[in-house]
């Protein structure tokens, strides 16, 4: 028979599973067969539960004290500052929108042709610097004013590489019998009457949508609305007729956003074109990449 100093000790060890299998079986057996023991054991079990409650109460009191002593846990940063983060985000969007719709100042392209850029990689001696020659000397930190300056330089570079299609010719090809509706557009573009051209595009039949978009993108580029032009060229990248041209002109339209960090999307797009053997604009892309290098 299991022998303990008192029933409390036995109950505690029973509840704490501190008895071996034989002792456990013995206690269970006695609880079943000996009503007096079972009653005493049950009272001991309830006393144990009440003493545990005393410990819980003691601990509660201590927790109250510890809580008062300790600083409160930090609130989740994003939860706490979510309104500030939203406000900052909206402010940023607003700034971008203002910048985007702000009238662009005319950019005077550099007089030096692309082929001469390599020769100018030697340190300059008072001559106007090319965009990349300037970029190579840039330091890691670029102040806002310098960013604007860079943007203008890369826009000038894009303008130099931009070969305007001959809009007097039928852009659908001489064999096309449906050139008629585009004539008004190309004629206006040849005369650099951009608003007239846009008006004519808006009147094109639906089957001329991709032609109209392609011409519209060129108009936007000529109006120096580079971001809008890039968006339209970008939408034509999978066009059978205009796809490859659109890829090249999209890069040119994105050039103002090109930075001297080589990780930009524009740089990656340009490199993809450089590696694309057989691309209609591979040669132009290589020339541009050489200037930027």
């Amino acid at each position: 028979m299991t022998d303990f100093d008192n029933i409390d000790d036995l109950v505690a060890r029973y509840l704490r599973r501190d008895l071996d299998a034989e002792q456990l079986a013995d206690v269970d057996n006695r609880r079943r067969t000996d009503p007096a023991f079972a009653e005493e054991f049950e009272t001991g079990r309830l006393a144990f539960i009440l003493r545990e409650q005393l410990i819980a109460n003691d601990l509660s009191g201590k927790m109250k004290r510890w809580r008062n002593d300790a600083p409160p846990p930090p609130e989740d940063f994003f939860k706490k500052y979510r309104y500030w983060i939203w406000a900052a985000f909206l402010l940023l969007c607003n700034s971008v929108a203002v910048w985007y719709f702000m009238p662009k100042t005319p950019i005077v392209p550099s007089a030096a042709p692309p082929t001469q850029e390599k020769a100018q990689n030697t340190p300059p001696t008072g001559t106007p610097e090319t965009p990349m020659a300037g970029a190579e000397r840039k330091k890691e930190t670029t102040p806002p004013a310098q960013h604007k300056n860079n943007s203008a330089k890369y826009a000038a570079l894009a303008t130099r590489f931009y070969n305007q299609p001959d809009f007097n010719k039928n852009i659908r090809g001489n064999s096309s019998s449906a050139a008629g509706p585009l004539e008004n557009v190309t004629a206006a573009m040849a005369g650099k009457k951009w608003n007239d051209a846009l008006q004519a595009i808006s009147q094109l039949p639906p089957e001329y949508k991709s032609d109209g978009d392609y011409l519209k993108a060129h108009i936007l580029f000529n109006q120096k609305k580079y971001n809008e032009a890039a968006a339209v060229f970008g939408s034509l990248k999978s066009s059978v007729r205009y796809g490859e041209a659109a890829q090249w002109y999209e890069i040119l339209a994105l050039m103002p956003t090109y930075s001297d960090q080589r990780q930009t999307v524009v740089h990656q797009m340009l490199m993809a074109l450089v590696k694309d053997d057989g691309h209609t604009y591979q040669k132009e892309a290589k020339n541009l990449a050489d200037v930027l290098r």
Binding site: D8, L15, R16, R17, D18, E42, T43, G44, L46, A47, F48, I49, L50, R51, E52, Q53, L54, I55, A56, N57, D58, L59, S60, G61, K62, M63, R65, W66, R67, A70, P71, P73, P74, D76
Partner: protein, 214 residues
Amino acid sequence: MTSLQHTTGSVNFQQLVMQHSLDGWNDEEFVQAVCSAGAHRDAALEWWFNDAQLHQWVRNYVTRYGGNIADADDLYHDTFIAFDQFIRMGRYRGEAALKTVFCSIAKWQWVNARRRMAKTEHRDEWPETAADWPENEWYTRERASVLNQLLTTLGDKCKKLLTMYQLNYTMKETASEMGYASDQVAMNETSGCRKKLKTMIEKSTELMDFLNRT
């Protein structure tokens, strides 16, 4: 009831807190400290209680599953009590990290609380780490409230003595805490309180019914 303060003894409580606030306890040391009596236990528990990351975890968990910050703080409190009991009852076997066990208990407590509020029934999702602990031994506020009603008649001295008894204080430690002249006095006083408690239980058929029901 005034909580035990451990103002006496050879171990300096503040030193322990300072030392372990810097170094922390590993799981084994922590379990040993919690199962011991006196300053080590309190220092370890205070260190654990002040774990801001754990507190934040409980807050995130509760707010994710339908509660608010006040619910989370209640849950942290209740989990802490259950966690202490879990360790002292020898339920922790070292298979998982103590923090995992704590989170597991918190989840279980929360599911239990939600179930009691009849909002949900997720028994399948109950965490396994603590799954072998009988449900009627879990800390709940309803249960605590009933038990405390009975304990109010016990008196502060007996509450203190029985708390120390349950925490396995030696009679020497008890005498020291209570300011008794000898271990024998402490033993007699403790014994008297244990008898008083049992008498109270035997007289309270209501409590017997409640505890047998839950």
